[in-house]
């Protein structure tokens, strides 16, 4: 069992280095930087646009990303590829995993799926709002911007980590640490 493809976890340093090298390729050969949150803007705009194209085009923020441009562009393809890559990796590892309510969450807030799903929905809405206000997320700012030494990205990553730590301790407290 020395096949690395079947080893369920790789060293975080190896994984991070791999993402770094992947970035060389996207910068040098694709003219792009890894990112994901703009795709959520395009997807939301396309869904709204299916109902009312005029409303989307009259919104300057949506128009900036969508007017005269394809919905499915490089990053949208990346996000779909990301899903498939994670799926392939999970399948190759041979590890079966299904999670509805995480253990840590269940310990603190109970086993209700409805409560967890609602919290996940709210969390997703809040984080994407923040990402677009800041101009990127953990990949666009945290990884791609960080490696370019962009001031914006380091400000985002630092504040994001502090806020995430404060929120996590507010939600789960010191005792939560023994449940992860």
């Amino acid at each position: 069992m020395n096949n690395p493809l079947k080893k369920p976890r790789w060293s975080p340093y190896l994984v991070g280095s791999g993402i770094g090298v992947l970035s060389w390729i996207t910068f040098a050969m694709m003219g792009e930087a890894l990112g994901t949150s703009t795709t959520m803007v395009r997807a939301a705009g396309a869904l709204e646009g299916a109902v009312d194209t005029g409303h989307v085009l009259s919104n300057p923020y949506f128009a900036h990303y969508l007017d005269g441009k394809p919905v499915f562009e490089w990053q949208f393809a990346l996000v779909i590829g990301l899903f498939l890559g994670a799926l392939v990796s999970a399948m190759l590892s041979g590890e079966r995993f299904k999670e509805t309510v995480p253990d840590l969450w269940a310990w603190r807030f109970g086993k209700s799926r409805a409560v967890r799903y609602t919290a996940a929905f709210v969390g997703g809405a809040v984080l994407l709002f923040g990402a677009r206000l800041a101009g990127g997320c953990t990949s666009g700012h945290g990884i791609s911007g960080g490696m370019q030494l962009a001031v914006s990205s380091w400000v985002f990553t630092a504040t994001m980590f502090v806020s995430g730590i404060v929120t996590a301790f507010a939600l789960f407290g010191m005792k939560g640490r023994s449940h992860v």
């Binding site: 991070g16 090298v21 003219g31 919905v71 996940a120 923040g130 666009g140």
Partner: protein
């Protein structure tokens, strides 16, 4: 759809999909498509997230600034996001709250659904709503918030006049020292290194 074809050219899509396949594979193998690994980071128990991010930043930076120095990349090939201090910081704070609540970021959330997380699906739906809400409110933010600390597309080297290698070296050194101290402090407590799937209720 919007005064343009729905799809970009096939070669662009193929390149994006290929980059995504590798990215998704690595995120899943790194363990960051798991809620407990992300929350483990915010609860300062499991440093997998920071290790992956800092390794990616250092290796990526060496390549990018190396290629710039060798003339393989031009300054115009960079993708620097504009600095608006209040927007970047406020966005970061809001993002951190949402990420601690959801347990994923956008990229790891997409990977988490593939990895078997049901609650991540609701996180992604929430993200679409968050994107739509921001789009509606962005003009207001642009007028009232996104003016404070507007420095343009600046980097740490361009702002300070120092060599980028100084920053790359410092980030690498601090990471190596930090993670070695962490390892010495509490050996074998990192959940990210765990290979077994936890039992589910």
């Amino acid at each position: 759809m919007f005064n343009a074809p729905l799809f970009a050219d096939p070669s662009t899509l193929a390149k994006g999909a290929l980059a995504g396949l590798i990215f998704g594979f690595l995120l899943q193998r790194g363990g960051v498509t798991r809620y407990r690994v992300i929350l483990g980071q915010f609860l300062l128990k499991d440093f997998t997230v920071l290790k992956i991010m800092l390794a990616a930043v250092v290796v990526g930076a060496v390549g990018i600034y190396g290629m710039l120095a060798m003339g393989l990349l031009e300054q115009t090939d960079l993708h620097i996001k504009p600095t608006v201090l209040l927007g970047n910081a406020l966005g970061g704070v809001i993002f951190g709250v949402g990420m601690a609540l959801l347990g994923y970021c956008p990229g790891t959330g997409v990977g988490a659904v593939a990895d078997g997380s049901m609650h991540a699906i609701f996180g992604l739906l929430g993200m679409l709503v968050g994107a739509a809400a921001l789009a509606e409110m962005q003009p207001w933010f642009k007028q009232h918030v996104l003016q404070t600390g507007d420095l343009g597309k600046v980097t740490l080297p361009s702002e300070t006049g120092l060599s980028p290698w100084l920053f790359i070296g410092a980030i690498a050194l601090l990471s190596v020292v930090g993670f070695s101290l962490l390892r010495r402090g509490k050996p074998g407590t990192e959940a990210g290194a765990e290979t077994r799937t936890p039992a589910l209720p």
